[in-house]
Symmetry: D2
């Protein structure tokens, strides 16, 4: 019983849920295994798309289950953040689902940047094909040589040169860079190193195939390449793109980042709650069906208490996330800073705990890819670092808390 | 920003808050110290009421800030559980406040029993003076010789004898038994030991001064008597009361208990959230004002992260509690079983953590009664046992979770 | 099986253990209840000693189970820190035991100060009667108005004035100040505020009855006065004592404090391990003997896992403490700084957890003083602040760890 | 300062340490990267050995740093469990090191089985080449279709048939099965299903290339194949081996398992402590060298407290492990049951926490294989399941604890 949900949201939820239950979950294991067979290599240039996934995307699109994340009635389905929340949670139950509904990171975040901050030309060139699912995109922010949690450490540069800008720098953990349809990256760099702290950075759209973009390798996250998306490392050497590719104008990078990260973080959290629900369900099903020492293993030791703890943690994390979504919808991102940082800490840590519990009940089958659990474990671990580590978000929460006392 | 709050609730909240801020908090420390001086003795028969508190009660009553907990527009203020939540939270900030608004345990729970299940005569005799704040009451359920978390262990008996019932048994942790105005107890015992499990018990109203009611002593909770209420131990030996004192009829004890404990538990949780907010505020104020090693101590070590953790835990606990309140209001107690058990585990544990953190920042002043923290610590500890220990509630949550899989 | 123990230690252990088992534990509950009856009042000037305890002290002394803590073969029993460890642990099982063997804080620490740093006159006047158990003593360090974890915050002063020193300042949590035999305090204050950081303080012996020593009150620790010792608050106003009462000379306060706190902390930890063993035993006995939902309650939910966790935590804490003792004996206190800070964090937190678990199994009986658990809970809580809060000791451990990388 | 270490142990430690520091660590990253390039494929039949590792093995062997685990002065170096402990810890710092000293799982455990329980023929055929490092071996116990933590669930069978036994069953997580030199497995199965519980199982040596041994696949552990060893899944269908391959005789499987698992578990724990030390060192080095918000990141938020917590946890885990080793040496495995189960819970959980902390400090570089941290994370996660999940070992600890009360 979701007390925030609107009727509209409930209708979409029913459709998304039956699509996932009927068309994705029955073939999920086979698709994931097939993906590992086809795309197992570190030679990412050979990675391929699975045709069944492309078919599922077409079907979802045909049913209007497409771009649900975008709060625009024409380009998306006009759902608020609160209305989208249960849909994103539902999608989070399967690692495959978000892409099938064109609601996967980092493309959603990039589409939101283009939607809110892109000019018409940028939207025509990149937003439209992204909304159509024809191309994939990259967000190039994190750098290997500095502590990227402090944006002022950034070393990459975006320098004006006539009608162009020249881009230089190393980036990594650029998700989607290995995708066969990877087409464009939103690249963040220093354009005005001497400006006030929040006006130093710019974001520019760089086509992936621009000369000077050198992709070094795809990184494994705890052994997985997350093919066919991949997490790329690259070096840009004197890459020249027209100044019209700069988003909102030079010096606006920090502002855009703030705007992008709020919704991006909440979408991650919604999906993570769905993953936690799936992990809990798997734990219970396994615990009820396997027997040891004369009992279903779920009845042994502290297992039932851990089930209860998982249920209580998930409920709390969901309510916190819905509350943040409500604030974004009704008060704006700027008034939801504490809330967004809070869910960014709470939800991935909750997922970590729930998945860990499920894996202990699964035994060996929780470590390989026969179940979704190992994938969820990696996702949970990554989320505690991605878009700012827990520690940075806790610092934000405490800073805003102390500000009440001045 | 409480997204559940109604305008009506917000209006009461403003009044309750200013009453507490202006009339209670400024003299709280003095009243508590005075109470310890006057009522310091284990000889509870000498305990006295503080006249200032009686005065504050009259003022609250005159302002209509009275019986806010009761969802009846005539006898109370007609507030729903969701509407009452922020008021109860506000009251939880001071250990003295709930009584001043006639919203303190165990009287609220007992009034609810009489309101929902008492007959007209019982309501006239006891509900009305309780609503007026003229008498205090006791709920006698827990027994010293058995594990009381399992109601089937209960040893006390309530045996029909003509127009009377004969009551026997030992009870302890009977809060309010030492109060100068303690007048009546709701006593639970076995009346039909051979009936089905949930029809064995009865509840009967026993005036405290009935012959055969032997009060053994008042118990300390971690050294405190919680005077002038007290937690009593007593033995009832062949106590005879008219059968008309039985609530709802013999055999209805379990049913009444279920009805009583839901709201009772959520009220405890709401107040505990207020206590946590106060503890967090005290921690921050102390941490900002004391200096060590060249810095305000709040900036040392992991203190700021603990502030953030406290803020995140409180928010989650509050939302979980509000959601449970919403279910009670809209779906009924029976459909909020998981939620009520969940908050009964989550909230007192959250309070334990937040208060513990605050005490570490306070140092020695967190251990004695110069601050409210030691009192909150005892309250948090007691709440993890009262109305069922954490473990029993976790068992309930997991049982209801597994039931989804049958 | 304690792999560190010597034969000598084992012999003492057997005697101490049988003394406690046969002469203390059987009457412990009665003595504690009697103490609460006699010494229940905040008027500490009326506190009295229990004659049975004085008798037990005589018996322990007669058996040579006396001053076991002191590593001197004549004045004590010549036991090393490692040899004393299992004895102190054994004493920790009962709150009454340490005093009976003349091994209670703060007297042991004060005797060590006098033994190591006192001159002959000071030893004659105070060490000898303390070793005899004829007087009790106080260590006056913590101040109410500053963060005392940073010694440079200290406000009390010790100013030379001819052959005397003049002492001024407020102190609190001065344990033992309320004891009928309280005779002398070791008072720490600033004598050279402009000297280098570690040469500013002095320690001086101040007889409790010196004019100008004003005892304000005894403090409760979570509601308990810990009578007949008490934790005092006092103000010293122009208190004049002869300069010969200064220990080691003016400016040596910090040095003495370092020497005192090492053994003091490890003795606290040893006793706390004994308390944890007692709490675990009580938990198991209760859990085996009470039944709920058809089973001994120890078999319900996660209780058995918590028993295992308690056993594992206690073993680790004990080994860490023994290892610290070994370093103190063999390498000296200065080479055991990390270890002493580590046990000061680990052991009280372990005790907190074990006692909390036991209380959950005990239910209401864990909250009042019918069992030793509430007392152990208060002791655990106090120990996380006394002699430096956890946070200060963690800072020490990390500082020494990072020093390896320079 | 390891108070248990003998001079002999210290001498070996110095040699092992300098071998690792000088010959392994400088090329570790390159070797691991090379291994991932060569052995990246799921087609394990193509996996190859790295010649540099073979060379390092020869050098270690030549220096007498070989088979240090085996408590036999001729075949090994005659080191006790306590003496071996610091060496194994040292090896645990690098994932590559154990193999180089011929001290890697599962071969050490298998060698111990053959050493303690094998007959002369079995020792000649398999123990000697294993000790020489010429072949690798497999321990086939865990099954995919049942909860293997309860050995009575085992479905595989070993049936007498004249001078042979016929082996049937499915096994998985059979580490080493994919190794190019994989030669023999110790296979556990039911031979006497109707015998008393501990006499039903047998262990038999099955050459890997025996007809009927069908290797299905190598399993990933969180995405990694752990090539060139691998974790195999296989089915044995009517595999016939001579009865002389049975170890100790039919029905002795459980007894052998008990004997094998004790040392096997403690070796895992020793190595895990070394891994934790390495992770802590990496965390500190990274935290000191990277800067954010104007400070080395190790000074931000609660990082220093986490460093302290890591140091305190490692010390405790090490002492617990050394104490277990001392009991194995001096009292025998049977008297170290609690201790072995305790370290099996404590150490991998400690490693999990320490590595997690290090990864948060590393950021993205903690997730891919540029540092050893992701490998340690997988190792820690696996160890919480391998050789019995945490829950089974906690059940053992609590069972033995309660047995003291009978």
């Amino acid at each position: 019983m979701n007390i925030y949900a609107t009727e509209k949201s409930q209708q979409y939820l029913a459709k998304v849920k039956s699509f996932i239950d009927e068309q994705i979950l029955p073939i999920e294991a086979e698709l994931l295994a097939q993906n590992r067979r086809i795309n197992h290599s570190s030679d990412w240039t050979q990675w391929q798309l699975l045709p069944q996934i492309e078919t599922l995307k077409s079907q979802a699109k045909a049913k209007g289950l497409w771009n649900l994340f975008l709060p625009d009635a024409t380009l998306g389905q006009g759902l608020t953040c609160v209305e989208y929340a249960p849909l994103a949670e539902e999608m989070g139950r399967s690692i495959l689902a978000p892409e099938i509904f064109n609601c996967n990171a980092p493309d959603t975040g990039n589409m939101e940047v283009l939607y809110h901050f892109g000019n018409e030309q940028q939207q025509n060139q990149w937003l439209n094909p992204l909304l159509a699912g024809d191309i994939r995109s990259v967000f190039a922010m994190t750098e290997p040589d500095v502590a990227s949690s402090d944006a002022t450490n950034m070393q990459a540069t975006i320098i004006e040169d006539g009608d162009d800008v020249i881009v230089n720098g190393r980036k990594w953990w650029s998700t989607g860079l290995g995708h066969p349809n990877s087409n464009v990256m939103i690249f963040m760099g220093l354009s005005h190193p001497d400006a006030p702290k929040h006006q130093r950075h710019s974001m520019v759209l760089v086509p992936v195939n621009t000369p000077g973009v050198n992709i070094t390798r795809m990184l494994t996250a705890y052994g997985d390449f997350d093919a066919p998306y991949g997490h790329g490392e690259m070096e840009l050497i004197n890459v020249r793109v027209p100044k019209s590719n700069v988003i909102m104008g030079l010096g606006k990078g920090f502002e855009i980042a703030q705007g992008r990260l709020g919704p991006g973080r909440i979408h991650h959290c919604m999906r993570a709650i769905g993953a936690a629900e799936r992990a809990l369900a798997l734990a219970i099903e396994r615990g009820l069906s396997r027997v040891a020492f004369g009992q279903p293993i779920i009845k042994l030791g502290g297992n039932l208490e851990r089930i209860a703890q998982a249920r209580m943690s998930i409920e709390q994390a969901r309510l916190l996330t819905l509350n943040a979504a409500w604030k974004i919808d009704n008060l704006g991102v700027k008034h939801a800073m504490t809330d967004i940082s809070a869910i960014k800490v709470v939800v991935p840590n909750m997922l970590t705990q729930v998945v860990d519990m499920a894996i202990q009940l699964y035994g060996g089958a929780g470590m390989n890819h026969d179940s979704p659990l190992a994938g969820f474990a990696t996702m949970a671990r990554s989320l505690r670092l991605a878009d700012g580590p827990d520690e940075v978000h806790m610092a934000m929460v405490s800073r805003l808390e102390l500000a009440k006392y001045k």
